[in-house]
Amino acid sequence: MPAIDVKDLRKEFRVQKNREGLTGAFKDLFKREYTEVAAVKDISFTIPEGEICGYIGENGAGKSTTIKMLTGILVPTSGQLKVNGYVPYQEREKFVREIGVVFGQRSQLWWDIGVIESFQLLRKVYRVPEDQYRKRLNELVERLQLGDLLTRPVRKLSLGQRMRCELVASLLHNPSILFLDEPTIGLDIVVKTEIRDFLKMLNREHGTTILLTTHDLQDIEALCSRVIMLDDGRIIYDGGLEELKEKWSKGREIRFQFTSRPKLEELVPLTRDFPDVQWTSEDELTASMWLPHHINVSDALSRVVGAKEIRDIKIIETNTDEIVREIYKSGSAEARKHGQASGENGGSPAGQKETVPNA
């Protein structure tokens, strides 16, 4: 049985149209007009048990709406939905005992009382037996190094400390699925790394299925074997992160630092027999060569090395941020045909610089 099974899931919201001006407002008073806005448009996916899946997309792409449907908060407009064998919104109270939810921007802890008091209350709400609770709490506290924070009131914790406590709060009842909505938002790099390591450990040792939304692609790179990318309520990519990179990054950039000022007119002819290679001049002594994947680095390099004196060489892989930005911009994850308009395509960082195609 898959942990999450979604088929043709759709959520529409009725939004009131506000007419312009005072007369418009007056008309609205008596007769309102509504428009149906679909936030999630017939999406389908399956997540097997024990997977860590990243759910990404621009603001307003429908990520949170999906998470809210999966956790039983919202009732879908249409489509089928099964999480842990339950239909979330129908058997909500039974269903939520087996899931953990963390909303990065909202706290589930009591503001004025010690963290441990919140945990105690959650233990009762989730009906966790005392001995199991102790064992679990000790393990989590040790892993996340919360020891001396437990008696402090939440309002006196830093964001990083609070977020670690939120994680513990959502895991006290040992859920088999954990939903995280932007768990690392606003955190410093140390806490981010700590939380990522913790989630990896959780997945490895307890087999917890994790679905997280994030805007930080490093979260995805560190954690997820799989990415689902959403745009305007539709899934535009569903698969491994590596494949996404391979499919979208079409090459790499090799940055040369020369001993004397390079001239593009001299550099371009060097790689004349590789028509896809592009040269860009960076500054006084540096120039970059953009190389598609089908050309070996050694081949291209040997042409330059023989002809010019080089002080330094750097090979730059396209990073995920750039790839994803490109995909968001184009609104589709289906990689465009090779060799077409390469300057604007994902992977080439040369887009906004002076580019001389080698043709």
């Binding site: 039983g72 009732v75 919104y89 039974k94 939520v96 008091e117 009906r127």
Partner: protein, 264 residues
Amino acid sequence: MFFHAMLFWEYLKNYAKTRLTYRADFWIEVLSDLAFQAMNLIVILIAFQHTPTLGGWTESEVVFVYGFFMVPFGIFSCFFNLWNFSDRYIVKGEMDRILTRPAYNLVQIMLENMDPPSLFGSLVGLVIMAITSAQMGMTYGFLDILVLILLVAGAVLIYFGIYTALTAIAFYSDSPTGILPLMYNIQNYGRYPVNIYNKVMRFILTWLIPFAFVGVYPAAFFLERSQTDDIRMAFLTPVVGLVFAAIGLAVWNFGVKRYRGAGS
């Protein structure tokens, strides 16, 4: 049921822990609640300076009704402190958190906002009932106590039903409505004898917004006023309570299905 009763205890403990840090706050709240009730009582006392009876009711009787009125109202106020529901749970989206926890959502919200100082009002109400009973030479048997509990429970359910339904409007409409304060004012009519109002008003207070059942009808049972059919009405209190509570819950549950969350 047992589970939710246990949760009540747990939330109460947390409430106490929070409040113990702000002790002065607690007593100020109790005092201001009681001062508010005292003002109402003084209005009644002043009215009786000018007339010996009000619609055939003596001063002691009317004050007794007021005392009874305070008992269910205090209990209701303790558990139903949801006046900022729309703002906190709908606009700020805290309903999300409530819905991901394995306990009935309305119970969770009620317990989170619990206001135990209101119970002092109930206590004072009981004292007022005792004093006026003594003035009128009324005696209570064991059965009377049982009936009192039953009638108070019925009255609490009426409040609960009406205000649950009205609070649930927040699920249907984005903008906060002025209907809650309006209702809060109407409920005060229930603590005076209904026969002083005209027919339309009486009908409304009995069957549509049955606030007569939270004060005057059930209290009349103890006053043994044989000249009216108030006693029969007194025993309708639990029935009306159940009907309105059921309506309130239905509106609420339907509203939760329409909840649309907030923000991103």
